[in-house]
């Protein structure tokens, strides 16, 4: 029971890091980017390539995955994402689905369609057991590492958003891009940086979760729904919303798949529809926005 809860939390934290970039993109530029999963996949493949081909240690690969996908994100933002900002939502959705299709087929072509194996270092393969019976808590070192990393990331991001000058500019730009631009905030550059960091976080999440989520070409399509659920349910105006949504989703998914495996994702989808019917703007959104 507690073990499941813990696994759910680890899964949820991972989803949070993966989806955070998407939440910020949606909140800031009102842009629905379905290709976000492609960045996560890119991170996973960077990790696999570096570990297998170049023999880098696991820990060194994580920042590398972050940097590589952040650069990729920045490049794409400058070249092809920017012209899409003013377009209707439908165009954005189709555009990013197209990008996703391209990423899936390209990775399939370059790396093969099979799932990539990740060799975790030995110190991540240990397992800790506490208690007994229904309250038994078994924690894999790998999942513990994920939770610790994600909590640290969440705290750091929260600090950046609420304490730094960049954070207040970002929040201002999210609330009202036009007034923010009028006050001399370089909204373009704030967004470029945010997009890059968001993509980098997705890449980091993809690399970090390589063993849980798997690294394969269909990754972006498989998890797209999950990222979108986190953003739609959590709302996009704060960091708490996606966090809570991701945790609920992670726990519900792990528990659901354990207790009623035949239903699969059923519980999660019904939960999402119910929440969206109850609060169409997401759980943690101020009512007045647009």
């Amino acid at each position: 029971m507690l073990t499941l809860l813990f696994d759910g939390i680890a899964y949820g934290m991972l989803l949070f890091v993966l989806a955070l970039g998407l939440a910020v993109t949606m909140g800031l530029m009102n842009f629905i980017n379905l290709a976000h999963g492609a960045f996560a996949m890119a991170g996973g493949y960077v990790l696999v390539l570096l570990m297998q081909k170049a023999g880098w240690p696991f820990l060194a690969c994580l920042p590398a995955a972050f940097v590589a996908t952040a650069l990729l994100g920045a490049l794409l933002e400058r070249t092809i994402y920017r012209p899409m900002y003013g377009k209707p939502h439908l165009d954005q959705v189709l555009f990013s689905i197209g990008l996703t299709f391209m990423a899936v087929a390209a990775v399939d072509y370059a790396m093969g369609s099979s799932q990539q194996n990740v060799q975790l270092p030995d110190w991540l393969r240990q397992r800790f057991e506490f208690g007994s019976g229904a309250l038994q808590l078994g924690m894999g070192a790998y999942r513990l590492f994920i939770v610790a990393t994600c909590v640290a990331l969440a705290l750091a991001l929260q600090a950046v958003l609420s304490r730094t000058r960049f954070g207040s500019r970002l929040r201002a730009a999210v609330d009202d891009p036009r007034v923010a631009a009028g006050l001399g905030i370089p909204v373009d550059r704030v967004f470029l940086l945010t997009f890059a960091v968001g993509s980098g976080l997705a890449g980091l999440g993809g690399a970090l979760g390589a063993d849980i989520l798997g690294v394969e070409p269909t990754f972006p399509l498989k998890y797209m729904v999950y990222f979108l659920i986190v953003c739609a349910v959590g709302g996009t105006s704060s960091i708490t919303g996606p966090l809570v949504a991701a945790l609920v989703l992670g726990i519900a998914d792990v528990m659901g798949k354990y207790y009623v495996p035949k239903l699969g994702g059923f519980i999660v989808y019904v939960l999402m529809i119910a929440i969206l019917l109850w609060r169409p703007q997401g759980l943690f959104t101020r009512e007045a926005r647009r």
């Binding site: 899409m84 189709l94 391209m102 899936v104 035949k262 239903l263």
Partner: protein
């Protein structure tokens, strides 16, 4: 021109529309050996038409239209297997089921933003997919529903392997749906829907009910999408989980976008374009054709949808409009 005339003008049949329909009807006669492909195109066209009704006219963004398609396909297949093999009755049952689902889910698409609608429509399709997977004793699960035998159409025309009957059947249904929708979108209901799409608040201020109109159009669209699903199940004698998959919703959206949303011919032209492109690409690169579809989408969206269905503007002045 009086206001009455100017309002009625767009609803009149143009000469080229008669010509196009004549060409379409001639297709299965001339290209009898490609009847299966024509049948597939007609099914996709009907599906795209149903999406056009809610997307192009009512402005409802949906990434889960496969829900109706799947309900229609399973409804028709199960009806034929367990109750009666008559195709037309099965079609009526499937459309009824689609309409019911549309009516039941319409309160969900009235509220919220585009994102919420995307998620809810996608969620409904996913829930149905999971249900179809769970009740595999009824639906056959991942192996598909087998042993569906269709009776002859109108008691006289058997569904043959060459899909000749099937192509005429699908085209006939497509034609009926087209004529009906043509009436609907130019009726007061259709015009108010377009107003609703452009400015919902203003329509409310005019004293019109938004919810009822959306529910009506969503129900109709659900019935038509179910009809296209039923066509697939009836003409192939098979239904599998594939009819509810996400890629169905994405494909039909893509077909509609190629043809252009918001005019009924868009679904038809888009279905032809999409199927031909799909066939060409998948014979050329079997495994990686999604890459080129994706590239096409990206370019199309960057260049602007407007220019695609007005080919004569391509070479006039550069730059998106």
């Amino acid at each position: 021109m009086s206001p009455r005339q100017s309002l009625l003008a767009p609803s009149r049949w143009r000469p080229w529309e008669f010509v196009l329909w004549a060409v379409i009807w001639a297709m299965p006669v001339v290209f009898g050996s490609h009847a299966a492909l024509i049948n597939e195109i007609a099914i996709l066209a009907l599906f795209a038409l149903s999406l056009d009704l809610i997307l192009g006219y009512a402005g409802i963004v949906s990434l889960g239209h496969a829900a109706f398609f799947g309900v229609g396909a399973y409804g028709a297949a199960l009806f034929a297997k367990h109750v009666m093999p008559d195709p037309l009755l099965g079609m009526a049952v499937a459309m009824g089921l689609g309409a019911l689902l549309g009516l039941a889910t319409s309160p969900m698409i009235v509220r919220g933003t585009d994102l919420t609608r995307l998620m809810v429509t996608m969620g409904v399709a996913l829930v149905l997919l999971e249900l179809a997977n769970k009740f595999d004793s009824l639906t056959g699960g991942a192996d598909g529903l087998q042993g569906v035998v269709m009776g002859p159409l109108l008691g006289a025309f058997d569904f043959d392997l060459g899909a000749r009957t099937a192509s005429f059947y699908s085209l006939a249904l497509l034609f009926v749906a087209f004529v009906v929708l043509r009436r609907v979108v130019h009726s007061p209901l259709g015009i108010s829907l377009q107003a609703l799409r452009d400015n919902r608040l203003r329509l409310t201020a005019l004293g019109m009910t938004v919810q009822g109109r959306l529910a009506a159009v969503y129900t109709l669209s659900g019935a038509l999408a179910a009809a296209s699903g039923a066509l697939l199940a009836q003409t192939t004698g098979f239904a599998s989980l594939d009819v509810l998959e996400f890629h169905r919703s994405a494909d039909v959206m893509l077909a509609l976008i190629i043809g252009g949303a918001g005019w009924l011919w868009g679904g038809l032209i888009g279905a032809i374009g999409f199927k031909l492109m799909h066939d060409l690409l998948s014979t050329w690169t079997t495994q990686y054709w999604t890459f080129w579809i994706g590239l096409f989408l990206v370019v199309l969206m960057l260049a602007g949808r407007e220019r695609l269905f007005r080919p004569w503007t391509w070479f006039k002045r550069g730059g998106p409009q």
